[in-house]
Symmetry: C2
Subunit: 594 residues, 2 copies
């Protein structure tokens, strides 16, 4: 027997018991005749005491012990004199009567501690050691718990988990597929799924009516810090429902998960139109943990009588930047009036970075003494600044930050600035969670490159019935029955009601620029399936890695994945991908060109 | 709103209620002025009654209805005059006041009935329609329930589900890998996992101590009726355990599953040595739903004084087939003495089929009148046959069937014959479940082709400590700490205790014919991980598709998979695999050679 207890469970209630424990040597300290060993396993740390004067045998073994050795000890549970209230077993220690070295260990290349000295590369290379560290292990425990709770909720709601195939068919639309050459079908390839979208819709046609799957998906895209070539999706679909049913069902799921995993309860999730999200936050995934909503000073895209006129100076002079801009918009960074010249310069540098691309930052301080002071005092008198103050509802101590430019771009830029100010002012607390439904997404988005409209979600997304008439005249204004769940400024799920009517689907394809032949070629089997009695249906998919990372309070998904890949798509631990034998290639009817 | 209830839930308790139901038209019968419609959804069938004399509108709609149309009806729950006790809703019907056609349907290419007229090819081509049939849907519901119960049990036992990567590294050993060309690493390939074996062992090194995963695995092998290129495995591993812990834990899992899914309870699972399984059943996965154990009449591989001598005739004549054979072995097919000449000829044909390859069948009838009559009466007198009768414990009405040949081959052949007789005599009841642990598998098996020993399980399987000394002298006799769980003659799970000691691992590699360099090349990262403190560990993996098919009482796994592939690895529904664009190939640095 290797253990009677784990290293995390013995307490004062076990005093006097004979126990057997197994685990890793976290550290050992020799205090002349007595050695204290911290023994670690998945469940905790227990202090061992070895009186090395007692037995030659024990003395020799203890002398040999190094960090990360695997040992098994027999001993008695004693009360500790210097208790450690920080750990669950801190009241006791084990007086060791027998010790066995189950395995030796080389010195790890980095410290197995909560705060490690290992860099990212080293930690990835020895991921199995990194996984011994509490923070990383706890992320995976959280991930397990979340998956369990998600399944529990969906099962209770009558959802069936159905496994869809991994070896499917490549489609030219969308992101790049990973492909798999077929040995039995020379010259042909499978593709790995980017999502089980078509299969879940087929399951609705099959009458499965409540489907889910926690499933690996694949996208061969250039990787950023926070993207992985394989990722996990919580994929869901329902039939005989309307948008409201989906929102309620999956708000329930999110609520259940937070309650059972984090012990947190929520009011009804707020809902926001896409249009309002863009207007008030410049983003379709606003972080509503804090306010700092946008105030428009100028908006030339509105009819003249609805347009705000706060951009105009009161006097003769006109600030040319505002005069020339389509759009002028700002935020009230509450309490930031104390920002120094240097800090304001930093902000200017921040928004001028190429990935943001603003040209300049205008500010107005509402000083503690009540005076208003702006970077454009030359053009605005106090009367005018008071109007700004009113529009932004400033109080003494506030700082107004204003950008000008083309509408969409200025909104995007101010969104970045708002988030940056949120960070700087400590408003983005990782232990606070602010869920939000963003609804009424546009059905179509204009693509500059191909000069045509594309489906914003996918070509099967249903337009709002009342907007269908706009398809011919104002396609960009047609709203979809599409929705995203956003938490803390991150999109963690999105979905839509699907079109189940053949006629409407044909109209949609036409508007997306598909000929009937093209539509048939790309979506033939799904369209055919739809001819045999497709029910009204819709669904949603959640990015599980992202969801876990948010609950774990992490900025990236890498540490909620047991064995992640680096930015070149490599697993540096197993050294993959790698070359394969010529024999393998020959069997697969392929050759490499490098 | 699309429904207030499903088509499976209304009973006499709902009489008089106004309800809304949605579903598919199973069939409709017009009885002049009144139309009866069976409406179906995932949950059941409800009878609708439409009085077509009442309203022109209803009459028109009902006239248009075809099979598999999707409809929504509003109506009142009434008591049926001719009740149907076979269905849950058989006491009621819905008097329809309003009917809406949600979608039309073309006539399906086969009947959506429990017994369909669709052939395999057609059913695969229109899998989404096949999935509407009760038997197929019920298999997937069973699959869902089993997965849920498995996760519930393992979670309660402290196992963590950890997702291991799908894009891994190709290894030359074992079955053929599916590979995935890497765009970002020109000329290199990922492989899809045949199992997460190395990753689960790494997780043990990481201290995860109780891991599981229900996970897709992939093998590019030639497909038989009952193999799929992608299949699902319940993959488990534990640390700080011994074989006994694993057997108990996963016997518990199996028990839990049967109890909660099938309502069945079991005694302790019997255990059988591999050696006994081969001796008594000629198979390492005996079907113990029935007896019919092997009786050896001759075994030249045993020492002379232990060898059974029943093969020798009593008189002068010697039956040359038995005389020449290494091994003579038989079974008592209880109650089959009535077998006619024709039936016995069929059995002879059965065992002579190329895939079985026996040369002839000897039989002895224990007639109802007590007389014994054999096909080798020329060589055996009654005295001798009485000895056979005693050895096989025959009673009047029994039939003894005997084969002769080389030991291993004769055992395999008789195993086939035993299973065939089990089928013919109705002893393999699909509603009866007989689990069995087969333990003490040999560590090594001799491979004729490469003329060396191979690991029977895998190179990390631990030999039994007491057998290690035999490695040098009798490698074929060394038993492993390896075990299989067998149900009804099908291996549904298998595993082993792993080697965690570097020295023993080196010895094993030597015996498997690896040079240290080869071992390093193939298993380098795992061996390196083992140097940093590997705990004693072991595990097991279950074939989930197979397990579901057994509980579903099916002979193949195809109908427990939502979207299976055919024997050429094709999904004929989505027509995959398929060719890909030259642009795609170019990006992946590959060319096809056909």
């Amino acid at each position: 027997m290797h253990r009677t207890h784990t290293c995390g469970e013995l307490t004062i209630g076990n005093l006097g018991q004979e126990v057997i424990l197994s685990g890793w040597v976290q550290k050992s300290r020799d205090l002349g005749g007595t050695t204290f060993i911290d023994m670690r396993d998945r469940y905790g740390i227990t202090q061992l005491v070895v009186n090395t004067d007692d037995a030659d045998d024990l003395r020799t073994k203890v002398k040999d012990l190094g960090r990360e050795f695997v040992i098994k000890v027999k001993g008695t549970v004693l009360e500790r004199s210097n208790k450690n209230p920080k750990i669950a077993t801190g009241d006791i220690e084990i007086k060791v009567s027998d010790l066995e070295i189950l395995n030796v260990a080389k010195l790890p290349p980095f410290m197995i501690e909560d705060e490690t000295d290992g860099g990212d590369e080293l930690r990835m290379r020895y991921r199995y050691l990194d996984l011994r560290r509490n923070p990383v292990r706890n992320n995976l425990i959280l991930r397990h718990k979340m998956a369990q709770e998600i399944r529990k909720y969906l099962d209770a709601e009558g959802f069936l988990e159905v496994e869809t195939p991994v070896l499917i068919k490549s489609t030219p639309e969308g992101a790049r597929d990973f492909v798999v050459p077929s040995r039995m079908n020379p010259g042909e390839f499978y593709a790995l799924p980017q999502s089980p979208q078509t299969f879940k819709q087929l399951l609705m046609v099959s009458g499965f009516d409540r489907y889910f799957q926690i499933v690996k998906c694949f996208r061969d895209e250039d990787l950023r810090a926070d993207r992985q070539p394989e990722f996990t999706q919580i994929d869901c679909e329902m039939a005989f429902i309307e948008q409201e049913d989906i929102l309620n069902m999956f708000e329930g799921l999110t609520r259940h998960m937070f309650k059972n995993v984090k012990g947190l309860e929520f009011e009804d999730f707020p809902r926001m139109d896409y249009a309002d999200a863009m207007r008030l936050y410049g983003s379709d995934k606003p972080d509503i943990r804090f306010g700092m909503q946008f105030v428009e000073l100028k908006n030339s895209t509105l009819p003249v009588d609805e347009a705000p006129l706060l951009w105009r100076g009161g006097g003769e002079a006109v600030f040319p930047v505002f005069d020339n801009a389509e759009f002028v918009v700002g935020i009230n960074a509450k309490g930031a009036a104390h920002y120094t010249r240097k800090q304001l310069d930093e902000l200017t540098d921040f928004i001028k970075r190429p990935q943001i691309g603003a040209t300049g930052l205008i500010y107005m301080r509402h000083n503690e003494d009540g005076t208003l002071k702006s970077s454009v005092d030359k053009f605005y008198d106090e009367e005018q600044l008071k109007k700004w103050s009113a529009a932004f509802a400033t109080e003494p101590g506030d700082l107004v930050l204003v950008l000008a430019g083309a509408k969409d771009r200025a909104r995007k830029q101010l969104n970045e600035l708002r988030l940056e100010m949120g960070n700087r002012l400590g408003l983005r607390d990782k232990n606070k969670f602010a869920p939000l439904w963003v609804i009424d997404f546009p059905l179509l988005e204009w693509d500059e490159e191909t000069e045509r409209y594309h489906a914003m979600h996918h070509p099967f997304t249903s337009p709002k019935p009342e907007d269908i008439a706009l398809l011919d005249t104002h396609p960009g204004d047609v709203r979809a029955n599409a929705y995203d769940l956003v938490i803390n400024g991150t999109e963690i799920g999105g979905g839509s009601i699907r079109i189940h009517d053949r006629k409407l689907q044909s109209i949609m394809f036409k508007h997306l620029g598909f000929t009937p032949e093209e539509a048939q070629k790309q979506f033939g089997f799904l369209l055919e399936a739809f001819e045999y009695g497709a029910p009204p249906h819709g669904g949603i998919a959640f990015g599980f890695d992202r969801l876990v990372s948010i609950l774990a309070g992490l900025d990236t998904i890498r540490d909620v994945i047991a064995f992640p890949k680096n930015n070149s798509g490599r697993d540096v631990m197993i050294d993959s991908p790698s070359t394969i034998d010529d024999k393998q290639k020959k069997e697969l009817y392929i050759e490499t060109t490098v």
